[in-house]
């Protein structure tokens, strides 16, 4: 009985991870995909932190007299992972903004239709550079 209770935490986290994963692979809207990706990753972080938790332990900051602390190593790993996740999200969102400007949509299937039409015309489509002369000023 206690076995299941101890594992229950993990299973709920797994459910959360799969919810995020499901959003990524099933939704067509690009922004929603990124949100799902973030959800997926955030839940994976909960899993990691759960690994390092010690019942009855203190926060891993040294205090006189304390003996039992939670494990600081997973915390360090997840700090790094959070930063990596946000960086990826920022880059993904930036690409989405450019896609919106170029295709005027952020729905996956609409983009596919526009591209297929262009494929039939057999022309590589270049982005317009309307104000290139302005770019020289730094």
């Amino acid at each position: 009985m206690s076995n299941v209770a101890g594992l229950f935490n993990y299973w709920v986290v797994i459910f959360l991870m799969m919810a995020g994963f499901f959003v990524v692979i099933s939704q067509g809207n690009l922004v929603k995909k990124i949100i799902g990706l973030s959800l997926f990753q955030a839940s994976a972080f909960i899993l990691y932190i759960s690994i390092g938790h010690v019942s009855g332990g203190e926060v891993p900051i040294y205090v006189e007299g304390s003996n039992l602390y939670s494990n600081p190593l997973p915390h360090v790993l997840i700090l790094t992972a959070i930063v990596v996740s946000v960086s990826t999200t920022a880059v993904g969102l930036a690409i989405i903004i450019r896609i919106k400007e170029t295709y005027n949509t952020v729905e996956e299937d609409e983009i596919q239709i526009i591209d297929n039409r262009k494929d039939d015309e057999d022309e590589p489509v270049e982005e317009e550079h309307p104000a290139e002369q302005k770019e020289d000023q730094s």
Partner: protein, 328 residues
């Protein structure tokens, strides 16, 4: 308490899947992030909670909102079937559950993860490194090279946004005219709050040895002060104070500072990032090393966060106001 948090997380996640108003989904994501941070708190991970709240709930939500402003609020009704994704998700979930069957129970102090490597961090770091915060010890010293890599990840993201969106002046900035209209109350409040925000950021930067904090959180908070100023006082006002070209050089300097500490050790015959090259007294060597690298991290995080904000907001100004295709 944990069960309540988990339940709320589940509800939020399910709602995020079903709702098609992306603005609402983003808000739900912010809530989810906040709940996650609270959950981290209950698991004794205070540094992680702090970072998740600032970075996850804070920056990510802001960026998503900025994106939505340009891409549209509603999601179209999905046409494709959900059969295959469901299967993939079920298999993955089953594999994960399978993996937990032999897992140690939550909170077990004798679990393998708590043995072997971590006890040294816990027992020795207050003496070896000389600071109480074990997470900072591991982050900035024992595994300092990972943190250097992470700082480069941030730098890379800054470069990416510069490449993809550009941070050139749109020429359409209106200093003195706020994006949200003239709100006297907001202006007064922000004027009062701003110095405290910046001071708090400085405190977090320096106090990371003793409590939760450090370069990442400090950099974000410092940047958020500027972002707040820009939002309330005038589009582009912050750009006049901190021009984007200066910012990108500042980001480079932050990351070079961190690597520079490592190289200094090399030139003194020690291994890369071995802080003992910085002083004869081992613990003060650690203190100096950690202070310098955290400073490098804070500088880079601040610069990149602000750069990304400028890039996103600069795009929004042009497209929304003039319908002109922005220059690349």
């Amino acid at each position: 308490m944990d069960i309540a948090l988990l339940a709320m997380l589940c509800v939020t996640a399910i709602a995020a899947i079903r709702i098609r108003d992306l603005f609402a989904v983003t808000m739900l994501f912010g809530i989810y992030s906040f709940l996650t941070a609270t959950f981290f708190l209950s698991l004794d991970a205070i540094d992680v909670a702090f970072t998740e709240a600032a970075v996850g709930a804070g920056i990510t939500t802001v960026l998503m909102l900025a994106t939505l402003r340009l891409t549209g609020r509603y999601e179209r009704k999905p046409k494709h079937n959900i059969f295959i994704p469901l299967i993939v998700v079920s298999i993955t979930g089953a594999a994960l559950v399978y993996g937990t069957l032999d897992a140690p129970l939550l909170g077990d102090p004798n679990a393998p993860a708590q043995q072997h490597v971590s006890p040294r961090y816990i027992e020795e770091s207050p003496k070896e490194i000389g600071i109480p915060n074990m997470v900072t010890s591991v982050l900035a010293s024992y595994r300092g090279y990972d943190t250097l890599g992470e700082t480069f990840v941030i730098f890379c993201a800054g470069l990416a946004v510069i490449i993809i969106l550009g941070i050139q002046d749109s020429g359409e900035v209106h200093p003195g005219r706020s994006a949200i209209g003239d709100q006297l109350v907001l202006r007064v409040v922000v004027k009062v709050l701003l110095p405290f925000i910046l001071l708090f950021a400085l405190y977090v930067q320096l106090h990371g040895d003793y409590g939760a904090g450090g370069g990442f959180q400090a950099g974000i908070i410092f940047a958020s002060g500027f972002i707040l100023y820009d939002l309330v006082f005038g589009e582009g006002d912050a750009r006049l104070i901190v021009p984007p070209n200066f910012l990108k050089r500042l980001a480079a300097l932050g990351v070079l500072l961190y690597a520079g500490v490592g190289l200094y050790s090399l030139f003194n015959g020690k291994a890369f990032l071995d802080y003992s090259a910085l002083s004869d007294n081992p613990t003060s060597a650690q203190h100096i090393g950690i202070f310098l690298v955290e400073l490098g991290v804070g500088i880079t995080v601040f610069s990149v966060a602000l750069t990304i904000f400028f890039a996103f907001s600069g795009r929004a100004q042009i497209t929304v106001k003039t319908d002109r295709r922005p220059p690349l």
